[in-house]
Subunit: 343 residues, 2 copies
């Protein structure tokens, strides 16, 4: 299958770019599409630097169906990895139609073009947010889904259901739904990493921006949760482990599988303060923080049961908290303003 390509939508983004590195390392041909609304083609050239391979990349918006078709006409695509989508929880609450239009509309366009070109293998970038507020811990894949309280989470859940229906309607489709816990860190080269626009929504990029001097202090939302130190506990997973999970999912897709969901997490929960301390150790910087009230919708603890992925994908995480923080710090200190040269 030397002439076949894996199409990576959102391939210039944080998770997409790291996954492209691992795909290339596993000798897959990759073509990237990205609308660059929340990403930069600089990441693609950095991926080329890291791997020493060329990565064809096109600025394509999934809302433009004919542009998607052009890509399928140009490349012989056998598998689609679908990362593209808006992802800011708060923005999705304020602008739900934007999220439904982009994320659902874009995905339906993509699936329709895949169907036209008889490409029926998809690996979807889902999220542990589909579980809503967990009824038990650790969360496994049999946990009920759909209790999402924001439009971002609902688009992940709705897209899972759409892919499930497509696979049910035509048994020659195969779908793998990868439910990410909290991806952090960066490639060990320090050349690619998370590059949030504006104020980071997630903890670790915020901490890293405090360390590098772009932000004065971290706000910790709630220290009165029912957790060991009172701050929220999450399952942080190194981005390179996460990316390798996608390569393992391809191997699974090549066998018969219908539509299956897998947690990608470590199974271990760390608190906000655990992460602060670990990052201080890795960076040698002090991270000042202030405690603020809990945020609406936040929950005390979420962490994965990763056994199904280990058993069926033959994949598990290998990188720990120290690597997450060291690699994030290398990226952030080498690239204080991400792919831009200044603020």
């Amino acid at each position: 299958m030397a002439d076949e390509y894996v199409l990576v939508t959102g391939g210039a983004g944080y998770i997409g770019s790291h996954t492209v590195v691992e795909l290339l390392s596993a000798n897959y041909n990759v073509v990237v599409i990205d609308n660059l609304v929340n990403a930069s083609m600089v990441s693609v050239s950095r991926v080329e630097d890291i791997t020493g391979k060329k990565v064809p990349a096109h600025q394509v918006d999934l809302l433009d169906k004919s542009a998607i078709r052009d890509v399928f006409q140009k490349y012989k695509i056998s598998i689609v990895m679908h990362f593209a989508g808006l992802k800011a929880v708060g923005e999705s609450v304020a602008l739900p139609l934007l999220y439904y239009h982009n994320n659902i509309g874009g995905t339906v366009n993509l699936l329709e073009v895949m169907k036209e070109f008889d490409v029926k293998n998809i690996i979807f970038s889902s999220s542990a947010t589909v579980y809503g507020s967990p009824q038990y811990l650790p969360v496994d894949e049999n946990h009920p889904i759909g209790g999402c309280t924001n439009a971002y989470g609902k688009t992940k859940y709705f897209i899972e259901e759409i892919i499930r229906d497509v696979c049910n309607a035509d048994k020659t489709w195969k779908g793998i739904l990868l439910r990410y816990f909290n991806p952090v860190g960066a490639h060990k080269s320090g050349k690619i990493g998370e590059n949030p626009q504006g104020v980071p929504n997630n903890l670790m990029p915020f901490i890293a921006q405090v360390a590098v001097g772009r932000r004065e202090y971290l706000t910790v939302y709630g220290d009165d949760y029912d957790t060991p130190d009172g701050t929220g506990v999450r399952d942080y997973i190194h981005i390179v482990d996460l990316a390798k999970g996608h390569v393992a999912a391809i191997d699974k897709l090549k066998r018969d599988c219908g539509c299956v969901a897998y947690n990608l997490g470590t199974g271990v929960g760390y608190s906000v303060l655990d992460m602060v301390k670990a990052f201080e150790k890795a960076s040698g910087k002090s991270i000042p923080y202030k405690v603020a009230p809990r945020r609406a919708g936040d929950i005390a603890s979420v962490y994965a049961n990763p056994e199904k992925a280990e058993k069926e994908l033959g994949w598990k995480t290998t990188l720990g908290l120290d690597e997450m923080c060291e690699d994030l710090w290398r990226w952030q200190s080498n690239n204080p303003y991400g792919y831009e040269t200044s603020s």
Copy 2:
């Protein structure tokens, strides 16, 4: 508000056309849009016959956003009643992308244009199917939603969630989600009624086509359910009662209400064989039937708790089983091939 219009999407269809009659009777101005994929403009002219009023109607597909904009530019619209959508359960299982594309994409387009034109009142044609397989009976509006097993039902559920999110994001929006049980019957004039394309998906149109000689016999799917006579029990509601529920919902929208869901049902369940007997009585025709195995996804009994609508909308059903069957028979015998002149 003499110059303001209620926009009725899918207004040439079964529920839409009956609702237009009741809106006109209550002195609302109405403009109809319909893509006519599953409906006929003949129904609109029949509505004009019945009411003696003109009904502006445009062939507009909700996937064509600029066509929707044209309608909003031409008429001063204050409220949207959104009926348009594909509705065949079996087809939705076979062609899920068609349903997601049309129903979700069309609704998001409609909501976006409403937002552009500052029209923030929507009454949505939802369905009791959002409850999935009921955990208790009668089903009230607090019953969990989302357990739908087919793409048709999921689109109803997803659209409810989308409207809910839009109303949450901007408190000047108002949404009413009307969850229909099983609409049957026809306007008492016999001029408008249900006009399914191909083999009817629903029980009563099928029975009526047997009575009128278009089909040889009725197939009853399962007579071993845990119900009084073993056949499935549903909450059938006369289409004119249902249509009047929409007028009551407008009154509610004019008061402050955020986003609220109401069951539209009678609270009474009848079995398949109850309906057969009632229709035989009303039509004077014998309805031969054959029992076949249960269909996948069918459930024994579903009927509504209609108290919330009675309390908050001041609406309840007034027409019984006899009127449902007599009115359906009048429509079917006067129009054996619906709005077409022959098979």
